[in-house]
């Protein structure tokens, strides 16, 4: 299998064409399938480039773990449930994909016969020293029998990748038996922050002092806030309860629960998605250094809001619109919001909206993602159309986004592939169709 992968990689590099992976007749079938997904009328489309994660077809998910660093390298955490996740980087200057390594080995835990390091499930951060900081997560709980037990999973590691040396430094386990479900790095205070899974504790690692701190519980396990926002003063924000916002101030090392709440739409479809998902928090927020506000979407109906943490005592929240695919607007069955929100260098928010409930192998079915923008200058929301790769296949879904230093917008998500006989060349299936993870690349000025 290894040889086959290398061969495929060589083929791609030789031809310079990603489509060389697929015979033309298969492309035709996939193209027809893609068209059928959207009815008869030709939909509005936006073309995105894509790169597979070479040699890692079995990776089955990615959530939040995407960072377009200042040197042009793009870092991605690939998840593998029941197996080892991987840290990969894409060098945008050389168009080369590099597998930095499997996380269990990087953590020194191979051979332990415990739950593996299956994911980087949170955002990366770039330090003033140029290193990329992150933390790990588990992905195998033995049918919940070993959830948060010593036998189930050793615990999340805090780590840093140094692009100068290509080495990963392991700072050791932080929360015992738990993973970091949500995280962010703050270069100002040089700390990796996290919310743990399953116990929903707010934790951090102070890189300079080596202190590992647990500030206690914030969320329930099934509704852990999925993004921590950090402002330019190093304050950390997240959600608790029903849309409440908490603020952690590193100067006082204390958490304060603010009086403001984000807008949340009442629950969705009874005993459907709302049974599975909390829908009480923002899904993702991004910090805009120009307006000094957060912009984000909440989980239930993809409501776009701004949060100004400096307005008044507790900040101010404003509802700005809805970032879902326009056909879903004001309906109850808006697909669960994705984590794919980023602020472009053109003062626009870019959001990859799901066409159906999207969660990789747990998705409700096949549908194309749409690229939705919000112009911070005009306040206008625009649907750029279905996201499709150059051969016409749709981006089935995405759960991470970031903007590179040159303005390129990156997403990580799923695209359909043809299953190979006797070989695992895909990460899972959505609506019976095999998918594979890919890095999607969008150039706002040219695409």
């Amino acid at each position: 299998m290894k040889n086959r992968r290398m061969e495929t990689h060589r083929e791609i590099r030789r031809s310079g064409n990603r489509n060389a992976l697929l015979p033309k007749r298969r492309l035709w079938v996939l193209g027809a399938l893609a068209f059928a997904l959207n009815g008869v009328a030709a939909p509005k489309m936006v073309t995105v480039q894509y790169r597979f994660f070479t040699g890692l077809p079995q990776m089955d998910g990615n959530w939040a773990a995407l960072k377009a660093a200042s040197d042009g390298k793009v870092y991605v955490g690939l998840a593998c449930h029941g197996c080892d996740g991987h840290l990969v980087l894409y060098d945008s200057k050389t168009d080369k994909m590099v597998d930095v390594g499997d996380l269990t080995r990087l953590c020194g835990e191979n051979g332990l016969r415990q739950g593996p390091q299956s994911k980087i499930h949170a955002k990366f951060g770039e330090g003033k020293d140029g290193r990329i900081y992150f933390s790990t997560h588990g992905g195998w709980w033995f049918d919940y029998a070993r959830l948060a037990t010593p036998e189930g999973y050793p615990g999340a590691h805090y780590m840093a990748y140094d692009p100068k040396t290509g080495q990963v430094q392991d700072f050791g386990i932080g929360p015992r038996y738990e993973g970091i479900n949500t995280g962010a790095y703050d270069p100002r205070f040089n700390r990796i922050y996290g919310l743990t899974h399953p116990r929903g504790h707010f934790v951090y690692y102070d890189v300079a002092t080596g202190a590992k701190v647990d500030k206690g519980r914030i969320n329930n396990w099934d509704s852990i806030c999925r993004t921590l926002g950090i402002d330019d003063e190093g304050n950390v924000y997240g959600n608790f309860g029903r849309g409440g916002i908490f603020k952690y101030d590193p100067r006082t090392d204390s958490i304060r629960e603010l009086s403001v709440k984000i807008p949340i739409q009442p629950k969705g479809i009874s005993l459907g998605r709302d049974y599975n998902k909390g829908e009480t928090a923002w899904r993702v927020v991004v910090w805009d250094p120009e307006t000094r506000k957060f912009y984000g979407v909440e989980e239930s109906a993809t409501i776009l809001f701004s949060f100004d943490p400096n307005a008044g005592l507790d900040g101010e929240v404003r509802q700005l619109g809805q970032m879902c695919i326009p056909d879903f607007a004001n309906r109850r069955n808006v697909p669960y919001a994705t984590l794919s929100l980023t602020l472009g260098q053109d003062r626009k928010l870019y959001y990859a909206a799901a066409g159906k409930e999207f969660d990789y192998g747990g998705s409700a079915g096949l549908a194309a993602s749409h690229l939705i923008t919000y112009d911070l200058r005009s306040g206008k929301i625009e649907d750029l159309g279905e996201m499709r790769v150059p051969d016409g296949r749709p981006v089935i879904g995405s759960n991470a986004a970031d903007t590179g230093p040159d303005g390129t917008v990156y997403f990580v998500g799923a695209v359909s592939v043809e299953a190979a006989a006797g070989e695992q060349n895909y990460g899972g299936k959505i609506g019976g169709i095999p998918f594979r993870l890919a890095l999607f690349i969008f150039h706002p000025q040219t695409d």
Binding site: M1, Q58, D60, G61, C80, H81, G82, C83, G139, W140, W141, D143, Y144, A145, L147, A148, T149, E151, P175, R176, Y177, P198, R199, K215, G216, R217, I218, N220, W221, D222, S223, I224, F240, G241, I255, E257, K267, S270, D274, Y275, N276, K277, G278, D359, Y360, G361, G362, G422, E423, Q424, G428, K429
Partner: protein, 386 residues
């Protein structure tokens, strides 16, 4: 290789629903049956509740009239009551000078509530006064009578009462003094210590070991565990604190770090208990024998132990880094039953799971109360099978 990869893929598909969703119906297989458990906020939400960071429930006890009293630990300690006829938690006020009250609330035969505090080590008395007609006012001080500090310089670590004799008994921290307080005379007596040295170990082992609770048997004798897991008995007739030749069950080699987490006096006269290593045991207070009943869970700690209306014992196990699980023990058969995580799922109204438990109590109506001890905590009501 191919077969291995295909098998891995098959496993991944099988677990996909379980791992991708934030909560899937499969999770209900590992929690307490949802028609047998409910939760209460500590007050009247969203405003009039004991604040996060002050809500960890570390003491629970049932008064002679059936009311449940509890105390919290955190930035401040609060006293609360749950009157079964109403069913809600009513915060009564902030306990003066306290940031922790650990298994240290006791109610006398007359209904007065005695509270042992940390870090100041004061013994306080609260006299219930028409709670039915009091509005909840978070932050107001609890009106108490200060009965003094039973042992100078020491916090109160545990407290219990002999209602018939009208005597409170307590343990103090850090020096493990055992004391008695006579309600009639208002006099405290220091009766000695149950541990004299800190067990040798890692740098984080900084405590002398003593039981987290005390228990009074049917004869008025008081039992505690001390150094090396050894049992101590105070015989009020002697009156003397004596070290007994019996120990709490421990993983061999861990005796110096063993303590009794929970005690329970059974109507049969036997004392049941749970240890820091997670063992359940039965202590015969007459014969002074200890029977190791084994471990109900693979986890450490027995965070609470009570008797249900069906004669079974109900307990919760799990350490502070763990996820607590509820179990039952049937003394008539010796059988354990694992009941699952302490989780309440009332979607779309509320859902919450307790990961750390610090106190339990049960009442004559058959309700088992379970107190969560985290930054954000709830009180759980478990209704055992008839």
């Amino acid at each position: 290789m191919k077969l291995k990869m295909l098998a891995l893929l098959a496993v991944a598909f099988l677990v996909a629903a379980a791992v991708y969703g934030q909560r899937d119906p499969d999770y209900d297989k590992v929690v307490v049956l949802q028609t047998r458990i409910d939760a209460r906020d500590l007050g009247y939400p969203p405003v009039d509740v004991i604040p996060d960071g002050e809500s960890g429930i570390t003491s629970l006890t049932v008064a002679p009239n059936g009311n449940l009293f509890g105390a919290t630990s955190g930035n401040h300690s609060h006293l609360f009551v749950l009157i079964p006829r109403h069913g809600y938690v009513q915060p009564l006020g902030v306990i003066p000078g306290a940031t922790a009250v650990t298994h240290a609330v006791a109610v006398s035969a007359t209904g007065d509530v005695y509270i042992g505090t940390s870090p100041e080590g004061r013994l306080l008395k609260y006299s219930p006064q028409d709670e039915d007609h009091q509005a909840i006012q978070i932050g107001k001080p609890l009106p108490v009578t200060d009965l003094g500090q039973p042992v100078s310089g020491e916090s109160i670590f545990a407290l219990t009462i002999d209602r018939k004799a009208g005597v409170l008994y307590g343990l103090t921290s850090p020096s493990t003094h055992f004391f008695a307080y006579s309600i009639a005379t208002g006099k405290s007596t220091d009766l000695g210590v149950v541990a004299s040295t800190i067990p040798e170990g890692e740098k984080f082992d900084k405590e002398k070991m003593m039981s987290r609770m005390l228990v009074v048997d049917q004869e008025g004798n008081v039992f505690a565990s001390g150094e090396n897991g050894t049992f101590f008995r105070f015989n009020p007739k002697a009156p003397k604190l004596e070290e007994l030749p019996i120990r709490a069950p421990a993983v061999p080699g861990r005796e110096p770090w063993t303590r009794v987490d929970a005690f329970l006096l059974d109507p049969s006269g036997a004392i049941y208990g749970g240890t820091s290593d997670g063992y359940l045991f039965r202590l015969d207070p007459e014969k002074l024998t200890v029977t190791n009943l084994g471990k109900p869970l693979s986890q450490y700690r027995i965070d609470g132990l009570v008797r249900g209306p069906d004669g079974k014992l109900y307990g919760v196990g799990g350490d502070k880094d763990d996820m607590a699980r509820l179990f039952s023990y049937d003394p008539s058969t010796g059988a354990y039953n694992l009941l699952g995580f302490v989780d309440v799922n009332r979607r779309p109204y509320y859902t919450w799971q307790a990961y750390v438990i610090a106190a339990m109590a049960s009442d004559d109506y058959g309700t088992v109360y379970i107190g969560e001890n985290e930054r954000i905590s709830k009180l759980y009501l478990f209704y055992p099978w008839p």
